[in-house]
C-alpha cells in the first residue's frame, strides 16, 4: 500500500506540531494530544516516533538510540520505519544529526543549538505514583501542588536513609512544572538544565507531549540536606576505551567471572576510539 512521507497523514502531523509548539511555550507542561496508532507497538516509543514523524523533513539527518546504543532492538526498529517512509540521511554521530530520537539516554556529546532531541516517555505523569487519577493530577499541576512528589522522596529517606528513586527522577522545569524526564538515568538529568538544544518528550500511549526548550532551568527535586545524586561511576574506567566520567554498562566477563564496565553511549565510544587510532597512526 502506498504511504505518505513519514507515514502519518498531513492533518495528523499538523495537529502534533501544533501541540508541540504549545509544549515548547509552556516548558514542562504535559500537553494532551490525540496520539495516533503506529506500526510500532504502544509502549515501544510511539510518542517519540510521532514527534519525529511530524517534524522530519527531507533535509534532516536522523540518529536513533535505545539504551545508549544505535543498534539496540528499539533503535533499529524505529530507524527502519523512519527510513522506509522518508529516506532521510541517517547517522550514528550525535554532532551530525539534526534530529535525535532516544530511549532512556541523553547522549554524552552535548547538544548544539538547533538540534532536536526527542525522548520516548512511558509514564509522563510524575505524580502518578502518589495519585492514580488523571483529573486530580491535572488539578495538582494547576495549583503547583507538588508536595506529593516530595513526600514520596521524604518517605524513601525515612525508610532507607536516602532517596531511592533511580531513573526517571522527577525534575522542576522553569520553576513551575514538575516533570518526568523519561527513564533517563539520573546521570543525564543535569544535561537538561540550560541546554543548547531543544528537548521534546512524547508519550504515545498516555497521549502527552512535553518539552524543555533551550536555555531552560531544570532542577532535580531534592532536599537541602539530602541533595540530588547521580549514579556514581567515579572510580570506574571503560574497559574498551579507557574513558571515565561517562555513564557505563556493567558487564560480566564470561571467562573470569569478573565485573567490568563499558561506556554506555556506544557511538561516543567509537568516536573516541577512532580519534585515538588516527592520533596513533
Amino acid at each position: 500500500m502506498s504511504q505518505n512521507f513519514a507515514f502519518l497523514d498531513e492533518h495528523s502531523k499538523k495537529e502534533i506540531r501544533r501541540k508541540t509548539l504549545k509544549a515548547i511555550a509552556i516548558p514542562g507542561y504535559q500537553v494532551p494530544f490525540a496520539s495516533r496508532e503506529l506500526p510500532i507497538a504502544r509502549g515501544w516509543g510511539t510518542g517519540g516516533l510521532q514527534l519525529t514523524l511530524s517534524l522530519i523533513g527531507q533535509e534532516d539527518v536522523l540518529k536513533v538510540i535505545d539504551q545508549g546504543s544505535d543498534e539496540s532492538v528499539n533503535a533499529v526498529n524505529i530507524r527502519n520505519l523512519v527510513q522506509n517512509t522518508t529516506s532521510v540521511k541517517e547517522t550514528i554521530h550525535t554532532a551530525e544529526a539534526t534530529l535525535i530520537q532516544s530511549r532512556h539516554r541523553i547522549p554524552e556529546v552535548p547538544l548544539k543549538p538547533f538540534q532536536i532531541l526527542v525522548l520516548q516517555v512511558p509514564m509522563p505523569e510524575p505524580l502518578r505514583p502518589v495519585e492514580p487519577s488523571e483529573r486530580k493530577t491535572k488539578l495538582l499541576h494547576g495549583d503547583k501542588e507538588y508536595s506529593g512528589a516530595y513526600i514520596k522522596l521524604f518517605e524513601q529517606i525515612m525508610r532507607h536513609g536516602h532517596i531511592t528513586d533511580d531513573a526517571d527522577y522527577p525534575v522542576m522545569v522553569n520553576g513551575r512544572y514538575v516533570m518526568a524526564p523519561s527513564p533517563i538515568p539520573r546521570f543525564d538529568n543535569p544535561k537538561m538544565h540550560q541546554n543548547d538544544g531543544l528537548i521534546l518528550l512524547g508519550a504515545g500511549r498516555e497521549k502527552k507531549i512535553h518539552a524543555v526548550p533551550p536555555y531552560t532551568d531544570v532542577e532535580s527535586l531534592a532536599f537541602e540536606d539530602y541533595p540530588f545524586e547521580v549514579e556514581d561511576f567515579s572510580d570506574k574506567i571503560c574497559r574498551e576505551s579507557g574513558l571515565t566520567g561517562v555513564f557505563m554498562d556493567e558487564l560480566v566477563d564470561e571467562e573470569t567471572g569478573e565485573t567490568y564496565y563499558v561506556t554506555n553511549d556506544t557511538s561516543y565510544m567509537l568516536e573516541k576510539l577512532n580519534e585515538e587510532d588516527s592520533v596513533n597512526a
Binding site: 521524604f154 525515612m158 532536599f223
Partner: protein, 280 residues
C-alpha cells in the same frame, strides 16, 4: 474563656444545598421536611449559618447526624464548596474579604498554614501506608519546607506531645490503634502551628478510656499553644468538657448558641432541652 476579643475566623450567612432549589425553597422562611424541600427534593444541608471564632477559645458545634455540622466543617476546610456565604480569616496576613472565593491554590495555602483538621475517620486525614513522621511532615512540605532534618525534628516534637513513642515514628498509621491514629492526626494538624484547629467527631468510636486521653490532650494543646478550635460532636458530654461556647444545630440551622454552661443549665430551644435532659 477566650483570651481576647480578637476574631480569628468569621462566618456570615453560610449555606450549602444539594440540588438546584426552586422558587418555593429559595424563600428563607419556607417550610422544609427536615432539611429537604418537599417540592424539588433539594437538600439544604447548611442554611444561613453565621458565627465568629475568637482567639484561644474552643467553640463547640453539637447536633444529631444530618444536622449539617460535618458539612459545615468540610466547608471551613475547603473539602466541600459552599453554595453561598462569606468566610474571613482576619488574622491572616492576606485577610481576603471572602476566602470561599479565592483561587484553589490559595485555598491550599490556607489549609496548610492557617488551619489544622482532624477527621473522625483517620483514613481521610492520613496516608495510612506512609510512616507517621512523613505524615506529619506532609503539611510542612506543602508549605515549602525542604529541610529533612528540620522536619523530622518538628515531627519528633509533636509525636512527643501526643504521646507516641519515638521508636514507632517510622511505622505506618495502618499498624496503629484507633486512638493512636487520632494522635498522629492531631500531631499532623498541629505541625505548622496553625492558629485554628478543626476537630470533627475525633473521639467517636474510640474506647472510653482512650476518649478521655484524647480529650485531655486537646485541652492541654489549647492551654499550651493557645490554638483556637472548633469542635464538632454529637455528644454533649464532650462539648461540656471542652468548649467555652457552643452552637446547637438542627436541620442545617443554628437553633441556639451561647456560653456552654448557660446552654446546659438553661436550654431555650425544645430540641436543646431534649438533648440536655437526655445526658443528665
Amino acid at each position: 474563656m477566650h483570651k481576647t476579643d480578637d476574631v480569628v475566623l468569621s462566618i456570615k450567612d453560610l449555606s450549602k444545598q444539594f440540588g438546584n432549589g426552586c422558587d418555593y425553597c429559595k424563600d428563607d422562611s419556607a417550610e422544609l421536611q427536615k432539611n429537604m424541600c418537599p417540592h424539588c427534593n433539594t437538600v439544604h444541608a447548611v442554611k444561613n449559618v453565621s458565627f465568629d471564632l475568637y482567639e484561644g477559645e474552643i467553640l463547640g458545634v453539637v447536633g444529631e447526624s444530618g444536622s449539617g455540622k460535618s458539612t459545615l466543617m468540610k466547608m471551613l476546610y475547603f473539602d466541600q464548596e459552599a453554595s453561598t456565604g462569606t468566610y474571613v480569616l482576619p488574622e491572616d496576613p492576606n485577610a481576603e474579604d471572602n476566602v470561599f472565593l479565592v483561587s484553589s491554590q490559595r485555598k491550599r495555602q490556607i489549609r496548610n498554614e492557617q488551619l489544622g483538621m482532624v477527621y473522625q475517620n483517620p483514613m481521610l486525614g492520613l496516608k495510612m501506608d506512609f510512616s507517621s513522621v512523613t505524615n506529619i511532615a506532609e503539611k510542612l512540605i506543602a508549605s515549602g519546607n525542604r529541610n529533612v532534618g528540620q522536619m523530622t525534628d518538628r515531627a519528633d516534637h509533636f509525636l512527643n506531645k501526643v504521646n507516641i513513642p519515638l521508636r514507632r515514628k517510622y511505622e505506618a498509621p495502618k499498624n496503629f490503634s484507633g486512638g493512636m491514629q487520632q494522635r498522629v492526626q492531631i500531631a499532623k494538624a498541629l505541625s505548622n502551628y496553625p492558629p485554628i484547629l478543626l476537630l470533627d467527631e475525633v473521639t467517636t468510636g474510640l474506647d472510653l478510656s482512650v476518649q478521655a486521653d484524647v480529650l485531655e490532650l486537646i485541652k492541654e494543646i489549647q492551654r499550651d499553644m493557645g490554638v483556637s478550635m472548633i469542635v464538632v460532636s454529637h455528644d454533649l458530654a464532650i462539648i461540656r468538657m471542652l468548649c467555652d461556647r457552643t452552637m446547637v444545630m438542627l436541620d442545617g440551622q443554628v437553633i441556639e448558641h451561647g456560653i456552654t454552661d448557660q446552654i446546659l443549665e438553661d436550654p431555650q430551644h425544645e430540641y436543646t432541652q431534649q438533648l440536655v435532659y437526655s445526658i443528665l
